[in-house]
Symmetry: C2
Subunit: 282 residues, 2 copies
């Protein structure tokens, strides 16, 4: 087994070199599904310590009006996994517009997505998320790949889609604080924690939890050393200039107002859950 020095060096040449830094003379990805996959015959593959080089296939769901940051936090961490393929999977090959209208090109369609994913990851959103959960094709795709995946994961309201696909029944899970309790609609057990791991289900809280979520998952998959190196590389040492990031920390008045404003959305979630159950019963 190579020593730690060589391991990190090889890792960097694969991850940083292959994607970000361009140190290594790696072939450029030719097809979209080759994104950041290192050359399979790379000499380092035989010398790498167990766990430092993998061959995961990570499928990230994109759907109209998802929230960009829900995706790009975890994506930044996933892409650091040397040897992994990271796919942006959408129903059609067309660019997908986020909830703020930014158009992003998927790499893979539902039809082209590998059957067996190492990680299925679903980002959140609001009305777009409900629409995705109500879309039969999307729900069936998530249910199918989720049942076969090694890890079934989400950030923010993405867990509502996992729930609608029947993947959270009997599992502890979380969501954006505003929709956390709605997870009960899908037979899940809501937990007030930033990242909830229950067997192979890993769910993150609202939007910005994506980095904590993905680092936790990376630690579980690739080990502590690997995750620490990625954390240092990403300079992830958060220092929020304010301390109002949870309902418990917020002024009561502000919280009450946000809750009141979101009440209609909560009702829409309940309605979605009812429709999904009805569709499944038929």
């Amino acid at each position: 087994m190579m020593n730690r020095r060589d391991a990190i060096k090889t890792w960097l040449s694969l991850v940083a070199g292959g994607t970000t830094l361009g140190f290594a003379d790696q072939p450029k990805p030719e097809s979209p599904t080759d994104l950041v996959a290192p050359p399979p015959e790379h000499e380092a593959m035989h010398a790498m310590p167990r766990g430092w080089l993998g061959n995961e296939t990570i499928g990230i769901l994109m759907y109209p009006k998802f929230t960009a940051l829900d995706l790009f936090g975890p994506h930044h961490i996933f892409i650091s996994m040397a040897g992994a393929k990271v796919l942006l999977v959408a129903k059609t090959p067309d660019p997908v517009a986020t909830d703020t209208g930014v158009k992003i090109q998927p790499t893979t369609t539902f039809a082209d997505c590998p059957e067996k994913l190492s990680i299925l990851f679903v980002p959140g959103g609001t009305t777009g998320t409900l629409e995705a959960a109500l879309d039969k094709d999307t729900r069936e795709f998530v249910a199918d790949r989720g049942e076969k995946a090694e890890w079934v994961t989400s950030v923010c309201t993405g867990s509502l889609i996992l729930g609608a696909a029947g993947l959270l029944e009997g599992y502890q899970a979380t969501s954006h604080w505003m929709t956390r309790d709605s997870l009960k609609e899908f037979g899940a057990v809501p937990v007030n924690r930033r990242v909830v791991v229950d067997r192979n289900r890993v769910t993150g809280a609202g939007v910005t939890s994506g980095l904590d979520f993905a680092l936790q998952l990376l630690k579980d998959i690739r080990g502590k050393d690997y995750a620490e190196t990625v954390q240092l590389f990403s300079e992830y040492d958060p220092r929020p200039p304010l301390d109002c990031g949870t309902p418990e920390k917020a002024p009561k008045e502000m919280l009450k107002l946000l809750e009141d404003m979101f009440a209609p959305f909560g009702k829409q979630v309940t309605e979605m859950a009812r429709e999904v159950r009805a569709a499944r019963a038929n």
Copy 2:
């Protein structure tokens, strides 16, 4: 002046309603540059307390091989500024590929970008960042809009582009820890802090500093209440599962190796700075 309750309610109907939640029946953006601008005649505009509704124009630079998370952290905060236009500005109207190959559609070209920006924001990257700094059109665009902008800002190695454009001379600034000292090449004073504010220059450290950076800027522009509401809405209460996010916290061996690996990149930065100085002298 309306009370706090009405203010938050109005804010939500504009921000959450207009972009994320779809509560309000706002017209959908028709041209790309209309992204999330509320209707100018919205009745709330006259009733909003000072600072809760603005009309900022925010220009975010996109260039080949930028790092997606550098952009989408701050973008998530900027987009919450009711009344602001958030533009993704690139040299040409074509989709821009990030350093991991994700293609993202800009909204605005250099030629179409308003002269006077409230915020100019530049994300980082690695080889792509050096290439952007060496590109005369990009450098001149950044220099021109930066000289006229109210706030000149960056995250990660984005500060190298600001520096190359001559915008950091005599300013305190920061960058990814690996390139922070290189800011001296551009006459800046490197500071080891997650977010550095010097007059109207606001720079963030590596990649993940984007949220801390943007919340700080939001607080300075829209005030504490506004920034806290956005923080709660984004559930920004980070809980990294590991504690290795800075050189000071990392094992010495890991740090030394990363530094060694990055030494060639540091030389490329020095070379870039020399070329830029030579170009300016001619």
